[in-house]
Subunit: 358 residues, 2 copies
Amino acid sequence: MYSYEYLNNFTQHVFIKMGCSKEDADMTTRVFLAAELRGLSSHGMIRIKDYYQLWKANRINIKPNVRIVHETPSTAVVDGDGAIGMIAATKSMEIAIKKAKNAGTGWVSTRGSNHFGIAGYYAMMALEHDMIGITMTNANPLVAPTFSVSRLLGTNPIAVAIPAKNQPPFVADFSTTPIARGKLAVAEKKGEKTLPGFVQDKNGNPSIEPTILKEGGSMLTLGGDFEHGSHKGYCMSAVVDIFSAVLSGANFGPFVPPSVAYLPVLDEKVGEGTGHFFGAMRIDAFQNSEEFKSKMDTWIETFRNAKSAPGKPAVQIPGDPERELEEKIRKEGIQVIPAVAKEMKEIAESLGIEFEIL
Amino acid sequence: MYSYEYLNNFTQHVFIKMGCSKEDADMTTRVFLAAELRGLSSHGMIRIKDYYQLWKANRINIKPNVRIVHETPSTAVVDGDGAIGMIAATKSMEIAIKKAKNAGTGWVSTRGSNHFGIAGYYAMMALEHDMIGITMTNANPLVAPTFSVSRLLGTNPIAVAIPAKNQPPFVADFSTTPIARGKLAVAEKKGEKTLPGFVQDKNGNPSIEPTILKEGGSMLTLGGDFEHGSHKGYCMSAVVDIFSAVLSGANFGPFVPPSVAYLPVLDEKVGEGTGHFFGAMRIDAFQNSEEFKSKMDTWIETFRNAKSAPGKPAVQIPGDPERELEEKIRKEGIQVIPAVAKEMKEIAESLGIEFEIL
């Protein structure tokens, strides 16, 4: 087990060695570590190699000028200038929150960015301002729309964070596919198969191989097949792509620049970088904030008291599993699977910093 | 086959006989007929009986004062005053569009309403203003969250309409369950079973009986089971419920007043009526409207050209199936299944208007 401090220190050093300012390295590291703390190791240390490779390939701007390029009282388009996704995203969400303070709500579509880690991190930034936070992003084109074998969409997650009073906040953070791509990567690193219903081979045959994406296979959208509503997962994923990239002027659909080495970097561009979408809604732009939060407590308690089907666990509130994992991980430390630790060691050696395999 | 004019005239008369103003009856009828034209008969004539029964039970306000009760530059809460859902919803979306004209975006949460028909109708109102339209609503509590047998959520649909240039608009309109409840009602009226994966009995056992909802059974969320992401469908449905009802002060979760006769009307209330949520985003609050619409054409063409899996139909763009059906139905007329026509005849007789069973 690694301590928070150890991995925090390591990650900061990686990004400082790449040339980031201390402030940008901090901003980036906070999101990587938040993923590990919330038990989403699929978005934590395992992704450092992706950024290391992007940096080696000169595909990220280490000294970006992240800025508003268009705005109205409640909206902005932010150009991330090729920044690390965590930097473009944190600054964009700060702008959405500022807009909401004045106009009731704030909505930011961001272009010229890269993979930003866990969507929930940015949505949760709104909570301390008594706001609802919303985050979306497009991602590596690995998902096929209903009926297709063409990889046109990412796992395109949506996160929504909503404050409560005495209850912990409601924090939904989910990909628009049955499983997150990072979880396939974890299964692959562990040498495991997947359940049926997540991926298909390049001809559209069902598959349980997490490596199938490296052989032209694709992920299915939430719902799985048409009969069970995969077109609804496709709709959601498409909306995320359009809000994140067509509204901002980023690359959309199959043109999203890949953050994984096994996808080719295309010559054709339809915009700048990866796109994200952020929203902040002031609670008191709708009703008294304390009353709203009391009602959220009632909502949460109502759902927590739902009757479970025989043999099934208790009903959880979105955000419960991650919060419970965070309590445990803060106490026990952060587990890094051996294959990832080995990659971290290699990165450390090439950058001339220290990393110990435990 | 019925003509548009015949059913339009019939529906207007039903609502005028209930005591609606000509204007309100028109506003309501437009949404009922839009459902039939778009091939969503699950939300068309079949639902007239629901409103007739609500009216008989004195559960709708025929002379409502639909009004803003709280607002900021980009937000409003609308009190529907117990109106027919189509009236509260049309007026709320008009307010969202007006807000967007001034602030870039407009967001309205509505309470004190009733079932509003097809969500896509209101989202599409934004299109002619060069805006993106968004609609959500909560609904009859018939859906169980992941692991549960308690009916705490509705099929809680989301609709998003996005304008394009030469291509028809992108119009996603989908429930957050594998299948819409209205489609179960249609299967029941036709005496058919459903596929597995849509409903469970009151003990959580899988079922293929569309009538199971009348025996304490429940619908599953999009994803079907936990392993295939039903918690993501639960998250989406929960967000729709909270935006529609906790933000507005409507009834949420299991407290949503039922629009079907087989659910009991609860004594306990946590707010007023059913809740909806509406959004309008001006395209040019983000970027040049013509450029955006050209990019949407590229987006749509890219997806339309996706490669289908062997034996599967062509990939469709959200809104394609309904638009194709509308062309066909405008030409051929509207089919009403015999069990629904019989109900319409009974309503016509009790209200003293004419209706012919074809």
